[in-house]
Amino acid sequence: MYKYDEYDQQMVDARVAEFADQVKRRLAGEITEDQFKPLRLMNGLYLQLHAYMLRVAVPYGTLDGRQMRMLAHIARKYDRDYGHFTTRQNIQYNWIKLEDAPAILADLASVEMHAIQTSGNCIRNISSDQWAGAAADELTDPRPWAELLRQWSSFHPEFSYLPRKFKIAVIAAEEDRAAMRLHDIGIQIVEKDGVHGAAFYVGGGMGRTPMIAPLIKDFVPLDDLLSYTEACLRVYNRYGRRDNIYKARIKILIHELGADEYRRQVEEEFAHVKSLGIDPPKAEFDRIAAQFAMPPLEASASDKVDRTDPDFAVWVDQNVAAHKVPGHAIVNISLKPLGGIPGDASSAQIDLMADLAERYSHDELRVTHAQNIVLPHVRKADLFAIWQALDAADLATPNLDLISDIIACPGLDYCSLANARSIPVAQKIAQRFADPARQRDLGELKLKISGCINACGHHHAGHIGILGVDRKGTENYQLLLGGSGAEDVSLGTITGPGFDEDGIVDAIERVTDKYLSERTDGERFVDTYRRVGMAPFKEAIYG
């Protein structure tokens, strides 16, 4: 993984000093909250429902044991002993004090971490495939491109006061594990005539007006990647709407211009921008890419897994994915235990995962947009020991991609934007479907819950989605079916009138019962839904 050189370290250190100075000026009253707000947001510090919330960046979801330990340390020293992993591969702390923020950022900088641009109307964390570098199906590791974009976007002087936030995802496989089509820019590294290039999808997003990003350019030469991105951003910065925050994302601009006109404007700008020489030479890409080389995995590691322990076998079948190198595997750690809070991990759990990474995964971990953790490079021979350690720490729930592997935003329990609580609903659903055999029978079923229309829980992209709303002062929940954030991308459709907290759980059970009665061999829930349509499900829900 990427390691800072002296330049990278200088930049985060300067940012720490800058923010320390800004905090000092705020506390001394030299700047107002209104002036301070965009500055603290560009360092990931929100004023949230209970306290300040800090969102720490985990660039494209990749980190090592030392960094993971620092995240645990921050939780213990400055917060309430836990962190929350987010749908953008970052981590959030909910109980931060402003007066501690400079020290926290300094601690992070000491391990090559930061909270730069994790909020604000700027380019946010570049997200990527959580199995990058390990999955057999990838064309190449997308993360060097993500790192190149991270540096290019950091402290970008022209694009720090955009109409709205800007999210970029980079993948390099046909299977989309990063919800790329639902980003402002989704980049897929592709191959044409033996040459790699970048397909650019621009104008995706969720929120109030969900949209799937249209293909703007099918093949951008990789030498032009940054110039082309710069052109996309410049057109947005100049012409994105600034009159209404609910219409300020690039998806609205592209929707209103039309993809063809947006493309034309980008091409025109690109022709100009390309002449500016902002694209780094191949040597810079090679320098970065070399740091993402496959770690020295054991050449003749055994492919055998002793499945004698039945619980271990269940976990292997559900949570362990194939690795491109024989004898190895990708371990998926669920942060969705029964009765837990989706995406939360205690400092002790975070430390444990750091230990396991160092010991068994060549010191590397990933955060997924489904709020889980990955150990990307483990030997199959070590799986049992890893599972035992996870199991002892309540980190071995074998529910990857099953109905209880719920993506849930923090909701009204934590977020001042929310209209309804999401976590209790997630917990009730998980409880209703607690039987592991029942979950496995239902199979892949991606359930996503948002506590408000901002859709941080990605409910539009859930096979089953739930949206919390405020109905005359009471929490109410709308049900959506048929969304997907994968390569079969689609937006969910509302079933009908909403439900209260218990009602939504019952409704979901009626939906899953209907699925079981309708499905044909091998169909996932979402496949059955797409085949039979909404009508049978609507009938089952509402009678």
Partner: protein, 137 residues
């Protein structure tokens, strides 16, 4: 070099529309929603272009400035309006060399903002050598 105030005797800025109508103004003001490229045919005649920042959140002026510098404008480029000291660094990188903030800026804060960053990741309009170039020569 940073200048804060409009000097006595300086020609006032005309609006873009007025400038495009009339031929002999040397100072023009660009509103945040106006197209900087409209000035490109006339850059050699201009001594001052003032770019408006009606609200600090409105970042269109950053693009306007870079576009003008990229087109070869070498006169004074001034950021006017709701300009906060914490934006000075980015404004300068985009090509601004003078500032007319609505609220006075503390000169020490301005100096700190201008000297904060040892290097920069990306090329912009200030001629700074981006880090990738420092890495590879």
């Amino acid at each position: 070099m940073v200048e804060h105030l409009q000097a006595d005797g300086e020609e006032p800025c005309v609006t873009l529309d007025a400038f495009l109508d009339q031929s002999n103004a040397t100072a023009v003001r660009l509103e945040s929603d106006e197209d900087a490229r409209a000035l490109i045919p006339f850059l050699d005649r201009l001594k001052l272009i003032e770019v408006a920042f009606p609200k600090f959140r409105d970042g269109r002026g950053y693009s306007s400035a870079r576009i003008l510098r990229e087109a070869g404008y070498s006169g004074e480029l001034r950021a006017q309006g709701d300009v906060l000291v914490d934006q000075i660094g980015y404004l300068k990188r985009c090509g601004f060399d003078s500032f007319a903030p609505e609220k006075d800026l503390n000169p020490a804060d301005v100096e700190a903002a201008l000297t904060r960053w040892p290097e920069h990741y990306q090329g912009a309009a200030d001629g700074a050598v981006p880090i990738w170039k420092l890495r590879h020569g």
